[in-house]
Symmetry: C2
Subunit: 355 residues, 2 copies
C-alpha cells in the first residue's frame, strides 16, 4: 500500500509504517514519535520520483505528485540537490541533509549532505564525507573551500564529483646545497641568460634550461624571471635581485610577486617547481630531484591565486581534467595578500572522484 | 676562415665568400652585389651563436660576439624570435624573415618568419607556412588570428607550436526532421524538464538527458536552457521561447545569447552540440548522429567568445592540450556583436604541431 505525506513546517511528515519502511530499512528522514517520520523535501521528492510515496498533501490540501512537488519547491538549488541525491542513491549510497536532526553532529562548512560509507546509514554514526552541491554557474569563493566532496551539476544535468583536500607539498630535492656565486647573467626582456654556470646548477638543482646546440659541459642556461629572482636573492647571479623582481612586476604585475612567493616556498619545502605553461598552470613540481638525468614524473600542477579568488566550476573542471589526463594532481596555492603580496599560502588539491 | 659582419642600417652585411657559404648553401640572408649578403639580426645572431660568424662590428667600431650582440639588440621580441629561429634550424628547416627583400612575396598578417618545406630554401619559391612568434605573456586579440603557425615561447624558453586554421564545422546529423509539438515542460531554475516526450527527441536527435531510474520507453528529459530555447523557438515545447531566453540571460548574461547563436548555427549545419563542461569548454560536437545508441566519438571542443576577445597564450595552451588529450580538435567560435549579440560567427581551430 502506498503512503502519502503532508507538508508541515518545511518537512514532509509520513505516518503508517513509514518508520520501518523508509527510515530503518532505507535511511530516509528522521523518526518522530511512534512510527511517523519527517522527510526533507529532497527525500520526499526522491520517494515520489521512485513511486514509493503516492503524493504529498500541500498546506492547502492539494495533492502533489512528483512534477507538481518539484515545480512548487522553491530555492534555485533544489533541482541540482535532487539530481545529486538521486545519483548517489542510484549508486547505492545513503545520504542525509547535513543538518540536525538528520544528524546529531552535522559537518560544518557549506555542506548540503552527509554521505555514509557504503552499507551504512544515518544511525551508524559514521560519515564518509561531507558533500556540497552546486550548479556549474555557481561561483566558489576560495574562502568557502572545505575538505570533503564538491558535486557540480552541469547545464545538461551531468554530475562531476571533486575530492577537495588540504595538500601541503613536500619533497627531498637538493636545491640550495651548493649554489654558485655571482654567475654572469643578462636580463633580456622577460627572461635571463646565465652564461656558463657550473653544470650542477642545471643538472642537480634543476634551475634553467640549457640553450641547445652548444657544448653541453658548459651549458648556457636560460632562466625564467622567477628562477632568476630566486637565484639572485641568494647571491648566485651577478644581477640585482631587485632589478629582476621589478622586471617581473613590469611584465606580470602582482601575479609575479604571488608566484615568486609560491616558487620560494616550494623550493624551501624541497620541491622543484618548473613552469606549468604547457598544462596551462603556473607550475609543475618534482618532489625528489637527484639529477635531471633521472628526473621522475612530476606530481602536481600548481595554480597560484590570491586568497580572495573566486573559482568558476568550469575552470575547475578544465584544470582537474587536464591534470588527471597527465597523471598529476591539481593543486591550488592561495596567497594571502599583505601589502607586498608576500603572505601566507594555503594549499588545496582537487581530484576527480567516482563515488 | 671565419668571417665578420658589420651593422649597416638594420642589417648585418657580410662579404668574402658569404654568399656561397651562408646564403646559397644554407639559406641565410639575401644577396647584395657581388658575393656580399645582408643578414637580419636574428640570422646574424644565429651564425654568431653557432660560431660560424666570428663577430659583428658595430657602428662605433666595437666588436660584438654573441653575448654582446644579443644584449644590445633592442626589441623585446628579439629573444623569443631567436629561440624559435634556432629551434627550427636545429630541426633542419630553413626560414626567413617574413619581409622583403628576403622574400619576393611575404605572407601577410603578423608573421615573423616564412618557414620553407623541408629540403627547400628561400630561393625555391615555396613556403610551408607563415610563422608568428610570441612570448607566453603576449596577448593575442582574436582579430589578429591568421592561418599559419603560432609559436609560443614560455617563461622557461620552451616552445609550443600551434597550427591555426579556419574551420567551419559541418555534419549530417538528423536534427529537426521530426520535432514533436508542444511537449509538456517546466522551467526549473537554470534547466528545463520535458515530461515524457517522444523517445526520438532523445534517441535520434540527441536533445536532453534522460532522468535515470525511470522507465526507459517514456524518458523524462532534462534539457539545458540552450536546448530548451532552441526547441521552444521551433514549437517543440509548451514553453515560451522568450521566457527560456530571459532565464538564460538572467543566469549567464550576454554569454547566453552568444552561446545560443553558436548552438543554433551548429544544429543548422547538421552538427549536434552537447555541453563541453567536463572539458571546460562550451560544447563538444557530434557531426554524424544517427542515434544515441550508436554515437560516434565527438570531434570538436568549441569555446565561444565575443569577436573582440583577447586570448592569453596560457589559456590557449590549456585548451589545446586538453582537447588533444581526449582526441578532439579545439575550435573557437567568435561571435560578432550586433546589438542583440546574434551576429556572424567566425570559426577557428588550433592544434598542436610538431615541426
Amino acid at each position: 500500500m502506498s503512503l502519502e505525506g503532508r507538508f508541515d513546517d518545511g518537512v514532509v511528515r509520513v505516518g503508517g509504517d513509514a518508520r520501518q519502511r523508509y527510515h530503518d530499512s532505507r535511511g530516509y528522514g528522521y523518526p518522530l514519535s511512534g512510527n511517523e517520520i519527517a522527510l526533507a523535501p529532497v527525500e520526499a521528492a526522491h520517494l515520489l520520483y521512485r513511486g514509493d510515496l503516492e503524493a504529498v498533501i500541500g498546506r492547502d490540501g492539494e495533492r502533489l505528485a512528483f512534477r507538481e512537488f518539484v515545480a512548487r519547491e522553491p530555492g534555485e538549488n533544489f533541482g541540482v540537490r535532487f539530481l545529486v541525491y538521486a545519483d548517489l542513491r542510484e549508486r547505492g549510497f545513503y545520504l542525509s541533509p547535513a543538518a540536525e536532526p538528520w544528524l546529531s553532529e552535522p559537518p560544518g562548512g557549506e555542506a548540503d549532505f552527509a554521505v555514509f560509507p557504503r552499507g551504512k546509514g544515518p544511525g551508524d554514526g559514521e560519515i564518509a564525507y561531507a558533500l556540497r552541491v552546486i550548479g556549474e554557474r555557481t561561483d566558489v569563493p576560495a574562502a568557502e573551500l572545505h575538505e570533503g566532496v564538491l558535486a557540480v551539476v552541469d547545464e545538461e544535468s551531468e554530475i562531476t564529483y571533486f575530492e577537495v583536500e588540504r595538500r601541503d607539498p613536500t619533497g627531498t630535492s637538493r636545491n640550495d646545497a651548493a649554489l654558485p656565486e655571482h654567475c654572469e647573467a643578462d636580463l633580456l626582456a622577460d627572461r635571463v641568460v646565465v652564461w656558463e654556470p657550473p653544470l650542477e646548477l642545471y643538472e642537480k638543482s634543476f634551475y634553467g634550461q640549457p640553450l641547445e646546440g652548444r657544448e653541453y659541459d658548459e651549458p648556457t642556461l636560460q632562466c625564467s624571471l622567477l628562477e632568476a629572482a630566486y637565484l639572485a636573492e641568494r647571491g648566485a647571479l651577478a644581477l640585482e635581485a631587485e632589478a629582476v623582481r621589478e622586471r617581473g612586476h613590469e611584465v606580470e604585475g602582482e601575479r609575479f610577486e604571488r608566484r615568486l612567493t609560491v616558487y620560494t616556498e616550494l623550493r624551501e619545502r624541497g620541491v622543484v617547481p618548473k613552469t606549468g605553461y604547457k598544462f596551462g598552470a603556473d607550475f609543475r613540481t618534482y618532489a625528489d630531484v637527484e639529477s635531471v638525468e633521472n628526473l621522475g614524473h612530476s606530481e602536481l600542477l600548481v595554480r597560484v591565486h590570491p586568497a580572495g579568488y573566486v573559482f568558476e566550476p568550469r575552470d575547475l573542471a578544465l584544470d582537474v581534467r587536464l591534470a588527471h589526463g597527465v597523471r598529476k594532481t591539481m593543486a591550488f596555492a592561495l596567497v594571502d595578500g599583505g601589502p607586498d603580496g608576500t603572505g601566507e599560502i594555503e594549499w588545496w588539491s582537487l581530484e576527480r572522484l567516482t563515488p
